[in-house]
């Protein structure tokens, strides 16, 4: 990914994030979060993770954020009324974030930098079989095929378990949202 594009998406993401925590109106916060996720998806795609990027848009920016907005509207939340901010928590919170950021920079400074190498798809084809190999030989990245291959073979059991988890979540939500009868 060209550097300007990277910085564009990165700044979009970070500014979106900052907007989320600084805007008082929850709807506005949710919408800035969508923007932030779009930037994130751009970064994913820049990392050759096309499927993840698409899913980030579809699931997060599309489905989950809609859910948030829906709930905000359902509860009919007004702009947060202003309360006198307590000094200690604010200072503490900012301090902790600052400390974290400094540490982050410190960690990055201690580790040697690593530049990306371009993907060598033709060479990778020798380790693959079937349709994936064909596509790779054409110097195209069969992203979805590769992910699917892994997901339905090696990660099959976790996948099933996640399915069950979703089912449980569904049932849980239904139970929780049921109005208590006396």
């Amino acid at each position: 990914m060209p550097l300007p594009l990277f910085w564009f998406f990165a700044i979009l993401m970070l500014v979106g994030g900052l907007a989320v925590i600084s805007l008082r109106n929850p709807v506005a916060a949710a919408l800035s979060m969508v923007a932030s996720f779009v930037g994130l998806a751009g970064l994913f795609i820049g990392l050759n993770a096309y499927l993840v990027g698409i899913i980030q848009i579809l699931v997060y920016a599309g489905a989950i954020m809609v859910l948030f907005l829906f709930i905000i509207m359902l509860l009919d939340l007004k702009t947060e009324e202003k309360r006198a901010p307590k000094v200690v928590p604010v200072v503490g919170g900012l301090g902790i974030v600052l400390a974290f950021t400094i540490q982050l920079i410190g960690v990055l400074g201690k580790t040697p930098p690593k530049e990306s190498e371009p993907l060598d798809l033709v060479a990778a084809a020798t380790h693959q079989t079937g349709g994936i190999q064909e596509t790779l030989k054409d110097d195209r990245l069969p992203d979805v095929n590769l992910v699917g291959d892994l997901m339905f073979t090696e990660y099959n059991l976790p996948l099933q378990i996640v399915g069950v988890l979703l089912l449980v979540a569904t049932v849980g939500v239904v139970v929780l949202s049921k109005r208590q009868t006396a």
Partner: protein, 607 residues
């Protein structure tokens, strides 16, 4: 085979009584009596057989160890003792048929008697020390049950409890002694002990005398408890709360003599040197001597007919123990043998008197009973004659043997002589007050001779009391000293005759025709205040007091300070963390953030 039957028959009778015959007291009493008659016959049969060790039957078997076996040892000592035990047991059972005829718990009574016969047989026939201990405890149990026969009476229940606990105190030492002997000789079996001791003596000459002396003294503790020597004598007079035939059987003739029997068994196994060559012998002899003298003094001031006899028993047991400690165990056993007959007779006689006087036990409320109950009276006087060692009665011969054994130690010898003066004194007092003179209460006035089932045993015992000392009967005695039953006119004879006269004549002068005790010596009447002292200091002070103190410490120091302190510490930690638990979501997130930063710091930047 016979030996096992001898041992187990009474147990079977007891079990049958307890399990099946509780409701049918009459049959229960017959079953018990039948069993004891059968055992008496077997004991007589065994007397004619050779010595043997029957068994062994494995009781505790272990890997790589001989374990423990049960075996029955038949020798002259045990065979003779069995004749005494079963013989007196049989007569007491028969007597009880009459004495306890109207008791509401007759079946329980006879069950207890059978259990006692079983346990006593076990002590006598035991082939090793653990068996002795087992049956030692079991006689304690049967004694407890029988003393507490009328357990709804507070005094009887207390006396039973006291007897058991005091015996347990003796057993504490007994067990230690057994274990030490086990450590020294490496075995519990009587027959093997001598060899083990000899090996030990060769190996460790230097510590031999000290160790074996200590061990023997510990073993002697058991005898102190069971044979009611000072300072553990206090249970025996209280034990008179039990039915009188029980007193005759257990607390006069057999069980209380078990201590002496056991000591003699130890002497036979380990050799008489353990008494004569170590300090143990002296201690034992002195304990016996002091008991003999102290109990005789107490007996002079008792008014309860059974208590007089009880203290007399104590005193005679002291005699036997003294003789044993001096190395004259055979003299002690010989006295045990004659004493068993005449003391059982005296107790059964007193039982008949009490029965006839409607459970009146105070001798000052009797009087003139010889005329009302001629057979009982005559046999009682025969028993008294034997006890006070009138020449040619059985007691005369055995007391002679004991005096002979004590001759080597002048101090003990003169104590023994003093006892020989006191015994005629208090027994003459008893006979004069209870049997002669005129009746002093209605109960005594209306007394009638008891039924044949009761005077029959008295008559048999009366004859035995007079003649069992003669050499002709030595065959059934468990042990006989040299020259037993022979009559010589020598220094000892004159001394014992003099002692007899010195006891009887003052008693006649003092008590002839009196209706009140002319003497009052509170020190003797109150038993040197030993009982009161025990009650105040040992029971109330030491036992209950220390229990209360320990309880206090347990409650407040262990439970309160240590445990409570730990719990309060935990509680204050809890209070500390409770602050953190503010319920504020962001507070938790904040803490979490601090944690993350610390983890990063320690994993990446530390060091």
């Amino acid at each position: 085979m016979f030996a096992w039957i001898l041992l187990l028959l009474p147990l079977l009778a007891a079990a049958a009584n307890q399990l099946y015959l509780k409701r049918n007291a009459f049959i229960a009493s017959l079953v018990s009596t039948g069993a004891v008659v059968a055992t008496f016959v077997i004991a007589l049969v065994l007397l004619g057989r050779d010595d043997a060790v029957v068994g062994p039957v494995s009781w505790i078997s272990l890997e790589n160890d001989p374990g423990l076996s049960l075996s029955l040892k038949l020798d002259q000592l045990s065979k003779g003792m069995m004749v005494i035990v079963t013989g007196i047991g049989m007569l007491v059972h028969i007597f009880s048929l009459g004495y306890m005829a109207d008791d509401s718990a007759k079946a329980r009574y006879f069950t207890g008697l059978s259990l006692f016969m079983f346990s006593m047989t076990g002590i006598v026939l035991a082939g090793n020390f653990i068996m002795t201990f087992i049956f030692w405890e079991l006689v304690g149990l049967s004694s407890y049950l029988l003393i507490g026969h009328w357990y709804q009476k507070d005094s009887a229940a207390d006396a039973a409890k006291k007897a058991f606990i005091v015996n347990r105190i003796g057993d504490f030492g007994f067990m230690i002694g057994i274990l030490m002997l086990f450590g020294i000789t490496g075995t519990f079996i009587f027959d093997d002990m001598g060899g083990g001791l000899a090996n030990f003596k060769e190996g460790y000459e230097s510590c031999y005398a000290c160790l074996i002396g200590t061990a023997i003294l510990c073993v002697f503790c058991g005898a102190v408890g069971k044979s009611a020597q000072m300072p553990l004598h206090v249970w025996l007079p209280d034990a008179m709360e039990g039915p009188t035939p029980v007193s005759a059987l257990i607390h006069a003739a057999t069980m209380v003599a078990a201590g002496v029997y056991m000591l003699f068994r130890v002497q036979l196994s380990l050799g008489v040197e353990i008494f004569t060559e170590t300090f143990a012998g002296d201690v034992i002899a002195w304990v016996g001597g002091i008991t003999a003298l102290g109990a005789a003094l107490m007996a002079t001031q008792q008014n309860d007919i059974k208590r007089v006899l009880a203290y007399s028993t104590l005193s005679q047991l002291g005699y036997m123990v003294m003789a044993t400690g001096l190395g004259g165990g055979d003299a002690g056993m010989f006295h045990l043998y004659t004493h068993a007959w005449f003391k059982a007779l005296l107790f059964l006689g007193s039982g008949a008197v009490i029965y006839a006087c409607h459970h009146e036990q105070d001798i000052w409320k009797m009087g003139g009973l010889l005329k009302k109950m001629p057979i009982t009276g005559a046999t009682f006087i025969a028993g008294t004659a034997a006890l006070i060692a009138v020449p040619f009665t059985s007691g005369f011969f055995s007391k002679e043997a004991i005096l002979h054994a004590a001759e080597a130690k002048p101090a003990l010898f003169w104590i023994a002589v003093a006892v020989a003066v006191l015994t005629p004194f208090y027994m003459t007092r008893l006979v004069l007050v209870a049997f002669l003179g005129s009746p002093r209460t209605d109960d005594a006035d209306h007394a009638k001779e008891v039924a044949p089932v009761m005077w029959g045993p008295l008559a048999v015992l009366g004859v035995l009391a007079l003649i069992s000392g003669f050499a002709f009967f030595n065959g059934i005695a468990p042990a006989t000293p040299a020259h037993a039953g022979e009559f010589h006119v020598n220094k000892l004879f004159w001394i014992s005759l003099g002692a007899l006269a010195a006891g009887v004549i003052p008693a006649f002068l003092l008590y002839g025709g009196r209706s009140k005790d002319p003497l009052s010596i509170p020190l003797f009447r109150e038993r040197f205040y030993i009982d009161a002292l025990y009650d105040k200091i040992v029971v109330k002070g030491l036992q209950n007091g220390s229990a209360a103190v320990v309880h206090f410490f347990d409650e407040f120091v262990v439970n309160g300070l240590i445990v409570g302190g730990a719990s309060r510490l935990a509680e204050s930690f809890g209070m500390l963390f409770r602050r953190v638990q503010s319920g504020n979501l962001q507070g938790y997130a904040f803490t979490f953030g601090i944690g993350v930063i610390l983890v990063i710091y320690f994993t990446t930047f530390w060091k």
